[in-house]
Symmetry: C2
Subunit: 153 residues, 2 copies
Amino acid sequence: MPRYLKGESSMEQRLSIITLGVSDLKKSRTFFDALGWKVASEDQSEEIVVYDLISMSLALYPLDKLQEDAKVKVERQKYSSFTIAYNVRSQEEVDVTLEEAVKAGGELVKPAEKAFWGGYSGYFADPDGNLWEVAHNPFAPLGPKGEFQWNGF
Amino acid sequence: MPRYLKGESSMEQRLSIITLGVSDLKKSRTFFDALGWKVASEDQSEEIVVYDLISMSLALYPLDKLQEDAKVKVERQKYSSFTIAYNVRSQEEVDVTLEEAVKAGGELVKPAEKAFWGGYSGYFADPDGNLWEVAHNPFAPLGPKGEFQWNGF
């Protein structure tokens, strides 16, 4: 039975798609393709590019179309006001991933360093300035497929 | 064996944490609490608020600290340049969810309507202007826990 029919809040603790508003769909796609990511479908890939992740998807969509769809006005910014963390299994893998992101066309925003919380992390920006943190957190081991939960999987 | 040791790109097709840079941590938390979401831990909740979702987490973190951590400058904007889609199982549930988001302190950005792609969707903004799309997509049924994949679960 849906939660709202039981008198509970209907909003379950999950999300379905993160859609990044991009300035140049082909250029943005080239970046994720270079990282080795595979699109979910080529059918509408001139309009929207989608990557299926674990239990959710990441979409690239032209920012002007995103604004049209949501009926809002958004100013383009150099860097995003949110970050996407990509956690890995070792410190070495942080370095390798940052290096590959730069090779793929990303910008090294902050070289990896020991973090105050006991891990190791650095940041790159994708072609639209979205901030990606690549992190190794020894206190939150990943699940078998790379699943993440705050207190470890 | 890690992918990069096999000569493949090391970046797996997944993400760990979406961190939203917020202007008032308590106010933002109040919103998600009102939606019925449960924090992963109260331990550091004065500094960062984390909700475990399916196989990933959503974090709320003061925007000034986010900037400090990534060593970048970000201007606050009315609306985000990305959207978070929350897909539900029926058209009725879209309406109910949008109503509850507004009751919790969100802004109705676009009332739900039939979408050109054959579904039904609307948008609300959370207290920091992040755009959330609540959608019913009859062509992409959710998994048993609400998991999403572009071509259906």
